[in-house]
């Protein structure tokens, strides 16, 4: 379990994490979402005790992590793929970490096998691809069979096979009763893996809850309408609280009303409708919707 209470981190006059409070429960996979620069990595570094909070507290399994007697049994963390020594082999990188907790070579070989690194275990990590570095980082996080696993963008740089591996791994860790907290910018990936979500924007908590709640609360259901009379139907539907978006094709994207009302209105005005499809927002859309106000670095074109 991870308990975060009033967590704040300031670098000079820039606030990276702002009075963040949430709880990550054991037994489920909790996703950590937010645009770049939202403070996800900073939060994860504070969980591991690498960055000191300006104020607020972090508790891992009910304890202050830097004071833990057996840190590797409490928390395993992947911060980024480049937290390995390029001059050491994969095995020696892991062995050096394992030694601090009295973990033997057998467990080291076990995680090497688990991460699919058996063939390159003796090779210097400096020559690893991003994906292999990521697998090594995940192996390091799992080394101590920790109660709580924190992974920052674990699928970054992984091939589809690796992505599937991570997905199954996270679920099996949660099934064992461990706390699994994982950040990702791939919403589709979160939708398939996480059951709980913590959403962050500009260092502040935007939402916490189940994936279904998040999608349900964040979106107004929309209706996709295909008609040759886009302009007339659009004018007909226009009303306060209803938005009609036409991207120049024969498709209208209508929110704020139902498919039944659109169909009835079109029938009364004798406008042909070829398609009338209620749409459910994907996690991706829900995410974009709740975070659009807090995106700090807009792409240049939208500025």
């Amino acid at each position: 379990m991870i308990e975060i209470d009033g967590l704040t981190k300031r670098y000079g006059d820039k606030t990276a994490v702002d009075r963040l409070s949430f709880v990550v429960e054991p037994g489920v996979v909790t996703g950590f979402l937010g645009p770049n620069g939202a403070g996800k990595s900073t939060t994860m570094r504070m969980i591991a005790g690498l960055d000191r909070p300006t104020s607020g507290t972090v508790r891992v399994n009910g304890k202050h992590y830097p004071g833990a007697a057996a840190p590797m049994s409490e928390l395993g963390i992947l911060l980024d793929a480049r937290s390995v020594h390029p001059g050491l082999s994969a095995r020696n990188n892991l062995l050096a970490l394992a030694r601090t907790a009295g973990i033997g070579r057998r467990r080291v070989d076990e995680v090497i096998e688990l991460a699919g690194l058996a063939e390159v275990a003796g090779t210097r990590a400096g020559g690893f691809s991003l994906g292999m570095g990521q697998r090594l980082g995940v192996a390091a996080a799992l080394l101590g069979q920790p109660q709580t696993v924190v992974l920052d963008e674990p699928v970054n740089g992984l091939d589809p096979d690796g992505v599937r591996w991570i997905r199954l791994l996270l679920k099996s860790l949660a099934a064992e009763g461990r706390t699994v907290f994982v950040s990702s910018h791939l919403m589709s990936e979160m939708a398939q893996t996480a059951t709980q979500l913590v959403v962050l924007g500009r260092g502040q908590l935007i939402s916490q809850g189940s994936v279904e709640d998040f999608v349900g609360h964040a979106t107004t259901a929309g209706v996709l309408v295909r008609t040759p009379e886009t302009v007339r139907l659009g004018q007909l539907l226009a009303a306060p609280g209803i938005t009609v978006i036409n991207d120049g094709t024969d498709l209208l994207r209508v929110t704020g009303t139902t498919a039944e009302q659109i169909g009835a209105a079109a029938w009364r005005a004798h406008l042909p409708v070829y398609e009338l499809t209620p749409t459910h927002a994907s996690l991706e859309e829900a995410f974009m919707q709740v975070t659009q106000d807090s995106i700090e670095y807009h792409a240049g074109a939208t500025r």
Partner: protein, 278 residues
């Protein structure tokens, strides 16, 4: 968007998940640091270079110039000190090993993995200090002893005085060169931890042990009263490097001054390691 809290199902695990990890201890962290140091190629290249420099330069000095004759002005200890000239070059190589022990981890990002598994942090500093001193002290002591026997054998074969380890100050000079190099490595370690960048650490190290002593030696004597207190000169007093200089500190006072620098720098490094974000 309001936060939805307290609605998630929280399955309570029947028992705590299995683990293989035991508590962190200083001994375990030392073993971890030894695993790293031993597996890095740079360690062994630097160690080999230091060995070649100490013994090779010593043999070269003993075999060149006029044979050394012990007299009131030319003590046995001073003769051995000259044969240990290679220590001056070896210290740069060993300083690199010291600086890299920390700056190498900051540069590659491994420090985050290291400090995440030892969140108390200070055991990492002590462990690096122990493994570096534990490697450098015996290796350089062996080098100095081999250098002593090689140099004295070459000198006597050329008709110079026979010098024995029991002659006044000789044992202190031989062992002192090794103690000196060990403290130099620790100063390098502290600089690496303090400055975090390899280039910065090496620059400061080279400035303190090479550039500043040379520059100071060219200045007028009336403004260089502090010269004996420079780390290299103070430490050099123990193995006879600066024994010929009129203002040199006594051997053990000089060594104590060098150790004082090391203690202060390690103290600052410990403070910074504890306080600063990794």
């Amino acid at each position: 968007m309001n936060a939805v809290t307290g609605t998630r199902p929280a399955p309570t695990p029947t028992s705590a998940p299995a683990t293989v990890a035991g508590p962190v201890s200083q001994v375990r962290v030392v073993r971890a640091e030894w695993t790293k140091l031993r597996a890095l190629r740079s360690t062994w290249w630097c160690a080999l270079t230091a060995v070649v420099l100490i013994i090779g330069v010593g043999a070269l000095v003993a075999g060149s110039g006029t044979a050394y004759h012990v007299s009131a002005a030319n003590t046995a200890a001073a003769g051995i000190s000259t044969a240990l000239l290679g220590v001056l070059f070896a210290q740069l190589v060993l300083g690199v090993v010291g600086v890299l022990a920390f700056s190498g981890e900051y540069g590659t990002g491994m420090i985050r993995a290291t400090l995440a598994v030892v969140p108390a942090r200070l055991p990492v500093l002590w462990a690096k200090l122990i493994v570096l001193a534990g490697l450098v002290l015996p290796v350089t002591l062996l080098c100095a002893v081999i250098d002593f026997f090689a140099a004295t054998a070459i000198e006597s074969s050329r008709g110079g005085s026979a010098i024995s380890l029991t002659d006044p100050g000789v044992l202190r000079t031989v062992a002192g060169s090794s103690l000196y190099l060990t403290v130099v490595v620790i100063i390098g370690l502290a600089l690496g931890a303090l400055l975090r960048k390899t280039a910065a650490g090496l620059s400061v190290f080279a400035a303190v042990f090479f550039v500043i002593p040379v520059v100071v030696s060219t200045l007028p004597h009336n403004i260089t009263g502090f010269a004996p207190y420079l780390p290299s000169n103070a430490g050099g007093a123990l193995w006879g490097l600066s024994a010929t200089s009129a203002h040199a500190l006594s051997p053990w006072t000089g060594f104590a001054v060098l150790c004082g620098y090391a203690v202060v720098l390690i103290g600052l490094a410990a403070w910074r390691l504890r306080r600063r974000d990794a």
